[in-house]
């Protein structure tokens, strides 16, 4: 599903964000990428959504070589990958329903299809009663659930979660992880980027550890070892 072949990414003047990283994530896997801040975890996510281009190596997502992806192809890639972030990234002037619908509207889906899909995903994340509220009118945990709902509307094969619990308390964080596990059970590959030790240890799933841009650990049922 995701293949990284010897990828390296440098930032000026002499920062090596990623250094000869090799990674293979199979379809349906739930993988945690762990490491301290500034070790290159987010750079991997940015590479996978076409926000950053690698300086060396090859990036393949769902069989598509996106190493040198063009600007016009990036929107197409992003419609196939669900992404959630620590700061939720919801449009503040749109209601929850509009935020989720927007992801379908941008790719020209019909209103009929949008009206069918959006209530379903809002139900999956448990926010079907709050669809007409604005992001600032709900809690952080609920905002993250809206972001998850938005990422699910395209029925993506891959869901990238970059520090999704970073802004949440432990109860909300656990709810979000439960939701990610539920999504994974439906067959979606989930890549969780985090530095939350408790969450990773509880998951008992594959853990990839990064330190200074290099993969230093890859365990099938791993723990947070740093």
């Amino acid at each position: 599903m995701i293949k990284l072949f010897n990828i390296s990414k440098f930032y000026k003047p002499d920062i090596k964000a990623l250094n000869m990283v090799n990674l293979h994530i199979k379809p349906g896997e739930f993988v945690s990428i762990v490491g301290q801040s500034g070790t290159g975890k987010t750079t991997i996510v940015k590479t996978l959504i076409g926000e950053e281009k690698v300086d060396q190596g090859k990036v393949i997502v769902g069989g598509w070589d996106i190493t040198n992806i063009g600007q016009r192809e990036i929107p197409i890639l992003r419609r196939q990958i669900g992404v959630i972030f620590q700061d939720f990234k919801l449009l503040p002037k749109k209601t929850l329903l509009e935020n989720v619908s927007f992801a379908l509207q941008v790719c020209g889906q019909t209103s009929k299809k949008i009206n069918y899909i959006v209530p379903q995903v809002m139900k999956i994340v448990g926010l079907e009663d709050k669809v007409h509220r604005y992001p600032q009118e709900i809690s952080g945990g609920e905002q993250q659930r809206v972001a998850i709902a938005r990422s699910l509307v395209h029925r993506p094969k891959i869901l990238l979660a970059d520090e999704p619990t970073g802004n949440l308390d432990s109860i909300n964080a656990e709810e979000i992880i439960e939701l990610l596990l539920k999504i994974n059970k439906f067959g979606t590959t989930v890549v969780l980027v985090t530095h939350n030790r408790d969450i990773v240890n509880k998951l008992k799933k594959r853990v990839i550890t990064i330190e200074n841009g290099i993969i230093v650990g890859d365990q099938a049922v791993g723990k947070y070892i740093l």
């Binding site: 600007q71 929107p75 992003r78 990234k89 002037k93 927007f102 992801a103 941008v106 395209h154």
Partner: protein, 304 residues
């Protein structure tokens, strides 16, 4: 699908204007101020031009005819002069008309009227008042008129209009020059202010633009609502300017008439006659600036 996307973009655009109402009001206010300034400069320019033209209009050449001249000969001379290329109009004023005009002009001066009565009879002569097509060719006209040798001509009044004309032309030229200079500066300021206002609007949306890109919106889908908003801002700006400017002109007009007595200055009809030209051009320019500013600003904030 294109129509569906366009309708969605239109909806987003109008939604955006409504949900950012204060920002929209500020942007439109800036556009209105800029347009008002430009129109005010047009008013100043039009007044000065009209004043100069009115003064030019008053310049004429008079040929005084011998009192005993037969009217048929006078009319023949009138026809001859009328046929000259540079002549706009030749008006014959008979001896009696000249008297009536004189009395009318001096009706409030009993001493002059008394003197006229004492002289007895009609001491005034008939005349031909000649208006040129272009007062700037005054010397050519005088040369032509001087060349006419006709026994019925008693005298020619070519006065010292030349000096007046030179002064008028100098003032006219300076007014035009100053008008273009001041207008250019104000238009440039207006352009920069409007351009910046639109950029500020988009700067406040930079986070949203990033989010739109992250969920897979194409550049076209992100840019279009801002482009439409820009045109809507320009359109509302023009309408608001019209709503403010015409009442302002209505208030201004009586003052102008009182100040420029005897001059034909109608600033309202100037704007009405040139409505499409002035406001159409302003709408076009305002829209183009807004669209240009939007394209640059969105491009800058959508590199995610």
């Amino acid at each position: 699908m294109i129509i569906l996307s366009f309708l969605r973009v239109l909806k987003f655009s109008l939604q955006d204007i409504g949900r950012n109402i204060w920002l929209s009001i500020v942007t439109i206010t800036i556009i209105v101020l800029a347009l008002f300034t430009v129109n005010l400069l047009l008013v100043v320019n039009e007044i000065s031009q009209a004043a100069v033209e009115s003064v030019k209009e008053k310049i004429d050449v008079v040929l005084y005819i011998k009192p005993e001249a037969e009217e048929s000969k006078i009319f023949a001379l009138k026809a001859k002069i009328s046929n000259l290329e540079q002549i706009k109009e030749v008006k014959y004023i008979s001896q009696n008309e000249a008297m009536d005009n004189f009395k009318n002009n001096h009706r409030n001066n009993p001493e002059i009227l008394q003197a006229l009565r004492e002289i007895g009879g009609n001491p005034l002569t008939p005349s031909l008042t000649i208006k040129p097509v272009d007062v700037d060719k005054y010397e050519e006209i005088i040369a032509e008129l001087s060349a006419i040798n006709n026994e019925i001509i008693e005298s020619r009044n070519f006065d010292d209009h030349k000096i007046i004309l030179e002064k008028i032309n100098a003032i006219s030229y300076k007014v035009k020059e100053a008008g273009i200079f001041v207008s250019s500066i104000f238009v440039l300021i207006a352009l920069l202010v409007v351009y910046n206002a639109i950029r500020v609007v988009i700067y406040t949306h930079r986070k949203e633009i990033g989010i739109m890109k992250l969920v897979g919106a194409s550049n076209w889908f992100i840019r279009s609502p801002y482009l439409i908003s820009s045109i809507v801002y320009a359109l509302i700006g023009i309408i608001a300017t019209l709503l403010i400017f015409y009442p302002f002109l209505t208030i201004l007009q009586p003052y102008l008439e009182a100040f420029f007595i005897g001059y034909n200055i109608n600033i309202i009809s100037y704007f009405t006659d040139n409505f499409i030209k002035i406001f159409g051009l302003e709408l076009l320019v305002a829209s183009l600036i807004n669209v240009f500013a939007s394209l640059i600003a969105v491009g800058k904030y959508s590199k995610v």
